[in-house]
Amino acid sequence: MTTLPQSTEKKLGLVIDLDTCVGCHACVVSCKEWNTSNYGAPLSDIDAYGAEPHGTFLNRVHSFEAQPESGCSQTVHFPKSCLHCEDAPCVTVCPTGASYKREEDGIVLVNEDDCMGCGLCAWACPYGARELDEIFGVMKKCTLCVDRIYNENIPEEDRIPSCVRTCPSNARHFGDLSNPESNVSKLVAARGGMDLMPELGTKPVNKYLPPRLKDQPSDAALEPQHNDAKGLFAWLDKALENI
C-alpha cells in the first residue's frame, strides 16, 4: 500500500553543506555511473553525442546567486536529489503501489515492476527529484544507494551513497538523522541545518547547511596605507614632484 508508515526505525538521509560545495558535479557523475548499472532500469541518455543531449539523472547541481541589499553577491552551488521526506506526497499519490517509503530506514523507493509511468508522483514532488525515464518508461529517483549502504560485498568505506563517497570537498554527509548522536545530526545542530520549501509540509529528512556569511571588509582596510613617505622615498617623492 502506498500509505506512509506511521514512523520509521531510522531516518537515513543526506546532509549537504552549501558552504563547502564547489559545484564540480562529481556527485552527479558518480551517481549516474553507479545507478545506471545497478538498482532497476538504467538511466538512459538520448542524443548523447548530438545537438540536444538529455537524459535521466537522480542528482543535479544548480548554481544560485544570492544578492544582499548591499555588498557583494554570494554564489552558492546547490546539489539537489530526493530528500526522502517523512511526509512524502509522491508516495501517497501513486495508484499502483510502486512508490513506497521503507519502514526500517525511511528510504523512498520505486518498485519498477509495478510502475505504470503515469508521472503523478513527479507532479506531487516539490523538489523535482523524480524523473521519468524516456526509454524505459518507469520513474527513477535517488535510492540513497540502497544497494551500497547494506552491501557486504564491497569494502566498508564504500558502504555509503556514491555521491557522498566521491565528493572531493566533503560537502555531502550520510547518516541516521533520527539519532541525535549521529554525525549528521550533530552537523545539523551545529550549523543550523534547514529544510527546503518548509511551507509545503513535506518534512524532508535531508538537510542543507546554509553557507556561512562572507566577511565584510572594513572601510579602514581599504584606506591607502602610505600617505606620507619617509626617508629616501620622501626625498624621491619631493624630487620627482619638482621636475
Binding site: F64, K80, A122
Partner: protein, 289 residues
C-alpha cells in the same frame, strides 16, 4: 504544466460522457428503446474513449491494471475504481431500459451518483497537488463537475438546465482564474526553495544542465501563459456564452443544439488546455522559471 493532448482529451471527453450518463440515469431525457440506445452509445463512447485516451499518457501501460490497487491513499486509483463501477451500474440500467423497457430508478440514481463521483475523483487528482497552487483550490472539483453537468445537459437536450449550469460554470471559472492569478505560487519563492533568503534575493546563476530534461518539459511549460487572456476569451465565449445564448434565445432544434455542443467542445478544449498550460509548478523555481 505540459498540456498533454491525451490528458486534455481524457478529462474533457470523459467528463462530458459521464455528465450525459448521469442525466440518463435520472431519466433526462425520458427515452427508451433505440433512441435510448443512441444516447447511451454516445455517453459510453465519450466516457470510455476519454478513459482510453488517458492510457496513452502512460509510459508503461502494461502495469495499468495495478492502478486499481491503491484506493486507500491515491485519488488516481480511486478514480479508476469509481469509473469502472459507474460504467457497470449504468450498463445494467441501460440494458433494462433499452431491451426490456424497464426503468430501474434506484439503479439509475446510483449510476448517476457514481458518474459524478468519477468526475469528482478526476478533479481531486489535480486538487490534491500542493505543488501546483492554481489547481490546489476549492474551485477545482466544482468546476470539473459543472463542466460535466453543463455539457451533459447540452447533450441530453435540456436547454434551460444547460443554460443555468453553464452560466454557473462560467462564473466559477472566471473566479478561479482571478484567484489563481493572485495566488501565484502560494508563497513559495526561489528563496524558500533554496533556503538562501536570509542572504538576499536569489537568482539562478547556472542551470544544472545546458539542455532540456523531463522536469522542464513536463513542469515548466511556458507557451500557454503568453496567450492566457485570449484563450480565456475563447473558453468563455465559445464554451459558455454562445451555448447559453443559443439555448435561451433560439428555439431548440437539432441545428442549434449541434452548434451549441460544438462551440462548447471547442471552448472547453481551449479552457482545459489553459488549465494545464498556465498552471505553474513550484519545482520550476529551481530553474528560475
Amino acid at each position: 504544466m505540459h498540456p498533454a493532448p491525451s490528458v486534455i482529451a481524457f478529462t474533457t471527453l470523459s467528463g462530458l460522457g459521464f455528465g450525459l450518463l448521469a442525466f440518463l440515469g435520472i431519466g433526462l431525457p425520458p427515452v427508451t428503446g433505440w433512441v435510448a440506445f443512441v444516447f447511451f452509445f454516445l455517453g459510453y463512447a465519450l466516457a470510455v474513449g476519454g478513459l482510453l485516451a488517458s492510457v496513452a499518457h502512460l509510459a508503461n501501460p502494461k502495469n495499468a491494471i495495478k492502478a486499481f490497487s491503491q484506493w486507500r491513499s491515491s485519488w488516481l486509483s480511486r478514480e479508476g475504481i469509481v469509473a469502472v463501477f459507474a460504467l457497470l451500474v449504468m450498463t445494467v440500467f441501460a440494458i433494462a431500459l433499452i431491451f426490456f423497457g424497464v426503468r430501474l430508478r434506484l439503479v439509475g440514481l446510483i449510476g448517476a451518483l457514481l458518474c459524478l463521483g468519477t468526475v469528482f475523483t478526476t478533479s481531486m487528482i489535480y486538487t490534491q497537488l500542493k505543488t501546483v497552487p492554481r489547481w490546489n483550490m476549492w474551485t477545482t472539483p466544482p468546476v470539473f463537475i459543472l463542466h460535466a453537468l453543463g455539457g451533459g445537459a447540452l447533450l441530453a437536450g435540456q436547454p434551460r438546465l444547460a443554460a443555468v449550469l453553464l452560466a454557473s460554470l462560467g462564473a466559477l471559472m472566471v473566479w478561479a482564474w482571478i484567484v489563481g492569478d493572485e495566488k501565484g505560487r502560494a508563497g513559495s519563492t526561489m528563496e524558500t526553495a533554496t533556503g538562501l533568503g536570509h542572504i538576499g534575493k536569489v537568482r539562478l546563476l547556472e542551470p544544472p544542465h545546458s539542455g532540456e530534461n523531463y522536469l522542464l518539459k513536463e513542469m515548466a511549460y511556458q507557451v500557454g501563459r503568453k496567450h492566457a487572456f485570449k484563450l480565456r476569451l475563447i473558453a468563455f465565449g465559445l464554451g459558455i456564452v454562445l451555448p447559453v445564448l443559443l439555448m435561451l434565445l433560439l428555439p431548440v432544434t437539432h441545428t442549434t443544439a449541434l452548434v451549441a455542443i460544438l462551440a462548447h467542445l471547442v471552448g472547453i478544449f481551449a479552457g482545459r488546455w489553459l488549465f494545464f498550460a498556465e498552471a505553474e509548478h513550484v519545482q520550476a523555481l529551481y530553474y528560475g522559471r
